[in-house]
Symmetry: C2
Subunit: 256 residues, 2 copies
Amino acid sequence: MDFDREIREHYLRGHEKFLRHISIDCVVFGFFNNELRVLLLHAKYAGHWALPGGFILKEEHMDAAANRILAERTGLEKIYMQQFYVFSEPTRSTRKVNQQFLQNVGISYDESWMFERFISIGYTALVNFSKVQPVADVFSSACEWFNIHAIPELILDHREILDKALESLRTQINYHPIGFNLLPEKFTMPELQRLYETILDRKLDRRNFQRKIIGTGILKKLKETKPGVRHKAPFYYKFDLKKYQRALKGGMGFES
Amino acid sequence: MDFDREIREHYLRGHEKFLRHISIDCVVFGFFNNELRVLLLHAKYAGHWALPGGFILKEEHMDAAANRILAERTGLEKIYMQQFYVFSEPTRSTRKVNQQFLQNVGISYDESWMFERFISIGYTALVNFSKVQPVADVFSSACEWFNIHAIPELILDHREILDKALESLRTQINYHPIGFNLLPEKFTMPELQRLYETILDRKLDRRNFQRKIIGTGILKKLKETKPGVRHKAPFYYKFDLKKYQRALKGGMGFES
DNA sequence: CCAAAAGTGTTTAAAATACACCCATGC
DNA sequence: GCATGGGTGTATTTTAAACACTTTTGG
């Protein structure tokens, strides 16, 4: 098969293109139907889900590598991404994952750079859910969104990476334009509140939340309301990006 | 010379022991005489100061590597260290630094792993100043403390790394036992306040600071006072480590 | 006795919290 | 017409900020 050839090539010659020992794993967050979700790939042969990941080209900036890796999975350019932690357990290894796989492709451990030790740089990515077209890579049979509260078993230490990413998202909420990157251009106040509640993992008071957010001046209220709801129609809002960024410099004051 | 042999060995065979393409740079903070200081090495031949750094052994955890690297520079074991950022500019390179040096040792670019591209993991370290014995390594002619406000020119992107470390220290002050690791076992309230003021880079009100810190319950006041001062003698305090750690979980509420 | 820095409390302003009723829409 | 969730304001508590005089010590 064609992808088998591509995979063999990657295992046998990848180290000519990429930096050895370093991988990138991405935790891609999206928000839809008032649920925070994460994009996962189903790793062939390994039989488990995994975070999308990849490697750094020899002359490429790490941030560029992260963007390139995700552009292929999501169809998006210029994704908002932040490195958040380096995972360096010497025992984290692609070996155990790929035993079956190895046999199929016919590569032995000492033939491939892929079975050397790797440290992995964790990146969080924030995307506009509705603009993403999930695409599996050659190592994967599927690419899907999962609710943050219903994550399946993951390979390697990917669960640990995901948990750390969530923790990082919580501390970033005061200093990074998380709402701007996760929500569509127009959104309602209750949607914004659900997003904050999901990330902070606690209920917020409607009235106090509204007052606080309005008080920061980061929103522009539109005349338009959300149609097709069977209750009072909520207004749409947009972000005032300049004021948002100004406000983030001083922190937004949401403690977890 | 003996160290020349050691250096040649490192350049020519280091990749057999260490992971290629990955280095660690440490920003070591100490506090003394009410000044926040950083430990720097004077790089031979390069003629500039540099952060202490090193590499990861092939089967070593990255945190262990960071600790090993600093143990050799400071004489301390179990140093409190945190990774804070990865620096990955493809143009950051040891090449330009070591031209002169190379000639002296007689190694050409393509002979050594040390001239390949490196990404560097930045670590902050917090140490008890008075317990450190600065020791230069084979690449360095000196190892000294510098006041954070009087940093000399540094090689490569080390100034950027240092600045980012300081920024990171500021955000960590609410969630990490920074005082505990930077101060000696016994310390006075004004010393603690200077530490906070230096890190946050702003003046704090004495009375409000004292009330806030006492209110967290993280301190034990001793009967003993600091001798030999030509004014009213301040009391010594110790940290109540259990309460300190409990308080840090919820954040200490010092905003920068 | 004087300079230098430490100890201590109260008042005021700002921010966070708690809480309840009316309104618009789809079914 | 009713169930669902959205919109809105006020009172209370908590937390942060501003501020000045007295005390101790070494020189």
